[in-house]
Symmetry: C2
């Protein structure tokens, strides 16, 4: 299977993974609510629809990311993320 | 389930559907290749990653849509779509 469906948090976060030009990425949806994800390598999260707020591990502040903006997460780290006002769609690129 | 995983063309096109502010949308991935989709209501397809080319039903010309661009499909119609150079990710909004 070229495309891979992944389910997290009892279906509240779901993604479809793909690979292009040797780089892996996923697009997915985060249902309203707060979740924590860990990283292996570095990742870039771009908000495609809706609004996320996120707090990187080891930092104190939540930051809002409306559609069209992105944030990056260091390798071997993680982040809290919350979809505000309903589900938010994202593109996650593995850097 | 708030989020809905859909599979088309033996897994070559997969999406995650959601609803926000009363409007339905999906994000998904189209594997390299050519496919045809029909519409019930009007839809807007925005390319999130990669490049699509598309040809609306009843038209003769294929048009390229790189990431960041979009096209709209009339209701009760359809379109041919091809992901170029590898999988492409999209946001589909039901208008």
């Amino acid at each position: 299977m070229m495309l891979k469906h992944s389910v997290y948090f009892d279906g509240a976060v779901q993604s479809v993974g793909f690979e292009r030009l040797g780089r892996r990425a996923t697009v997915g949806v985060i249902a309203a609510g707060e979740y924590h994800f860990g990283t292996d390598g570095a990742e870039r999260m771009t908000v495609v629809s809706g609004t996320l707020r996120a707090r990187l591990d080891g930092t104190a502040d939540w930051v809002h990311y409306p559609a069209g903006t992105c944030f990056e997460i260091p390798p071997s780290s993680g982040f809290d993320v919350e979809a505000l006002g309903g589900p938010a769609a994202y593109l996650c690129e593995f850097l």
